[in-house]
Assembly symmetry: C2
Homo-oligomer: 152 residues x 2
């Protein structure tokens, strides 16, 4: 189903693969992997048992972290699609999360779905949905800013 | 300087001390400790070297996590102050973070300062500032909701 074998994060410049949330070279981090799938960017993440908030519920800070890195990857994929080349590293200008329902700690992976709702040459506004099975448990918005424009 | 020896989080019911961000019983977590200090609630946190985003910069998801748990503790302290008893466990309805400047990974602890800007019987709106030395690097807003009202 994935249109690209490599995750978006694994196409960042090697110096930018140390992020705690999504860097493949950060061995203690979350190592989130985001992929394009049609009009969406998707990712899955299986919380570990210690990543809880209140008993039975996934930690909200983890959900915010996943939304952050997935939103940034979605912004990077947008700039890649419009400009070509590799996905440029973006940073987070703002992050908003609405927790719609407790995200159950049930041994099932969470699914993240994201798309760009607005963009300029330097910024992308990304909407992110977090699902546990069929249930929407959180919605997020990330404003992703390109670190530096690529030469055209 | 602290008005209470025990952190707010360490006064939560024992069943709620497992949170990845602030539970003293979560040995792999962040173990954030928030204390009242006059009109503010304050906390310090020293990021570890692996908690980075881009090189030299603290991971934005960590900052969001600290704002989340510190905001929730500030809401709990508000309800404690108005009702007496122990701080009730709150959960996060929404979390917003504005990243004002890169938060430097410089071996110095971050300082979090928070206060309640609006509240009802069940919700508290909490404003959080994140400082690295004298520099404001992020601002957050947390809407904290009491899990269940205490009997009066």
């Amino acid at each position: 189903m994935n249109e690209q074998a490599l995750a978006i994060q694994d196409q960042y410049d090697e110096g930018f693969q140390l992020c705690y949330g999504c860097g493949s070279q950060n061995t203690s981090g979350l190592q989130l992997k985001s992929h394009r799938q049609g009009e969406l960017v998707i990712a899955e993440y299986l919380p570990s048992g210690d990543q809880l908030g209140v008993p039975g519920v996934v930690y909200g800070g983890l959900i915010a972290s996943l939304i952050d890195c997935h939103g940034i990857a979605t912004g990077a994929a947008h700039f890649q699609a419009t400009e070509g080349g590799l996905p440029p590293r973006c940073v987070t200008a703002s992050l908003h999360v609405e927790y719609r329902a407790p995200t159950p700690m049930n041994g099932q992976p969470l699914r993240l779905e994201a798309s760009v709702s607005d963009a300029s040459a330097r910024k992308a506004v990304v909407q992110v949905r977090v699902l546990s099975g069929d249930q929407l448990t959180a919605e997020g918005q990330v404003i992703a800013v390109r670190m530096k424009p690529q030469a055209v």
